[in-house]
């Protein structure tokens, strides 16, 4: 009897569920809309909120990656633009450079420099293909840099004024006394064979004299930094500050004769 009672209770529950399900099936949309709204507000809303947050986090992460890539790209572009600005400034100063009569300028770019603490030679990207020849002078927008020492098809080696074996016949711009500029590792750039009677004082500009037929006259070599006149010697000791910064050579010009 009790079993039957238990069974009838179970059946009653199933019958109740069946009735409710039928109500939901035939009662739409009024009943279902209401029930659906209650369920969505009660059970689903917190998870909709969490999903929205997760989606936002995922979006932020993607956006962050895109922004990082954009920053990296912009950083590279900025570096290139800064380099272009520096090059532009250099080229503007070169444009104001007075061209020597009888010569044309062949632009060249320094590929490499060699030497110890002070560079003594540089390789440029011009050579036999550009009709570059040995002994041709090389300058930049500031002054004399050196001369061509070796020539290869696409490259040439420039012997800089800082090479102790390189010498330049020079004179003081304000006086006319001459001497020979050379570079000593211990003392730096000096003007040798300058007579004691000669007029030279710190700040005077030293120009190439044109003697020796390697360098044309009038190229700036440096400025006088110190003058010592020993009493028992015929020549003064004149120290120079080079016009060219040999540590930052980039754009150079080979002086090519107008009539080869």
């Amino acid at each position: 009897m009790s079993y039957l009672s238990y069974k009838s209770v179970r059946n009653a529950h199933f019958a109740a569920v069946l009735v409710l399900a039928v109500v939901l099936i035939i009662g739409q949309p009024v009943v279902n809309g209401l029930v659906s709204q209650v369920i969505l507000d009660g059970f689903y809303y917190p998870f909709f909120h969490i999903k929205k947050l997760l989606t936002e986090v995922a979006t932020v992460s993607t956006e962050n990656d895109q922004l990082r890539a954009w920053v990296a790209k912009s950083s590279v572009e900025l570096s290139l633009l800064e380099e272009a600005a520096r090059e532009n400034a250099r080229l503007r100063s070169i444009l104001g450079f007075e061209q020597l009569p009888g010569y044309r300028l062949l632009p060249a770019t320094v590929v490499s420099v060699t030497g110890g603490q002070m560079p003594i030679s540089a390789t440029i990207n011009r050579g036999l293909d550009d009709s570059v020849k040995v002994q041709q002078p090389v300058i930049n927008q500031v002054g004399l840099v050196g001369r061509i020492q070796e020539v290869m098809p696409g490259y040439a080696k420039v012997q800089l004024l800082t090479d102790p074996l390189n010498r330049v016949a020079a004179r003081v711009a304000s006086g006319r006394e001459m001497g020979i500029v050379r570079y000593l590792v211990s003392e730096g750039m000096v003007l040798d064979n300058f007579p004691n009677q000669g007029i030279a004082q710190p700040g005077d500009t030293i120009l190439s004299s044109g003697l020796g037929r390697v360098y044309p006259p009038g190229l700036t070599v440096g400025t006088v930094s110190k003058v010592t006149r020993p009493e028992n010697k015929p020549y003064s000791e004149v120290r120079l500050e080079p016009a060219v910064n040999f540590h930052s050579l980039e754009e150079l010009f080979v002086l090519m004769p107008e009539t080869p």
Partner: protein
């Protein structure tokens, strides 16, 4: 009867419908958590509880599609009743028997849902969604039983690593 665990199960179903069902998919098949929860309740609880939980699970599951809410409630209630009677008549001590009941129940639910929703690609969805979804759900049930019956414990996991 304590009602709070069943409410938590319903929250779990809602969470699965909103968040995790989209994350854990194999092709188009998803884990059928409502059917799994109803079957597990039918295995471990009484018939009355199973029937009412099936009804509630169907209503919660179909909250986003009110037109089919009654059908889902009816199907899950019937599934709970069927699973309960199978459990009463068969020996479900072995893990395989329980997994077979789960697989059969989930397959039945998936097929009935396909029939109710009147899918155009019924035959394709029958194997791609119903069958694969049933297998996927059975895998989750297998892990659940391994934990519940103590085959996987924290101590064993710790010993592995």
């Amino acid at each position: 009867m304590r009602i709070i665990p069943f409410i938590l199960y319903l929250f779990l179903i809602a969470m699965h419908e909103v968040i995790s069902s989209d994350l854990i998919t194999v092709y188009t098949a998803v884990i059928n958590l409502p059917a799994l929860a109803v079957l597990l309740v039918a295995i471990y609880k009484s018939q009355v509880v199973s029937i009412w939980f099936g009804f509630a699970a169907g209503v919660v599951m179909a909250a986003g599609m009110p037109d089919l809410m009654g059908w889902h409630a009816l199907i899950l209630s019937a599934l709970a009743l069927t699973a309960f009677h199978v459990r009463e008549r068969l020996n479900l001590d072995s893990l395989c028997a329980k997994l077979l009941l789960i697989l059969g129940g989930v397959l039945m639910h998936n097929v009935l849902v396909l029939i109710v929703t009147r899918s155009d690609e019924f035959l394709y969805l029958l194997w791609s969604r119903a069958l694969v979804g049933g297998i996927l759900t059975s895998l989750v049930a297998w892990l659940f039983f391994l934990f519940k019956e103590g085959h996987i414990t924290y101590a064993k996991m710790k010993a592995l690593f």
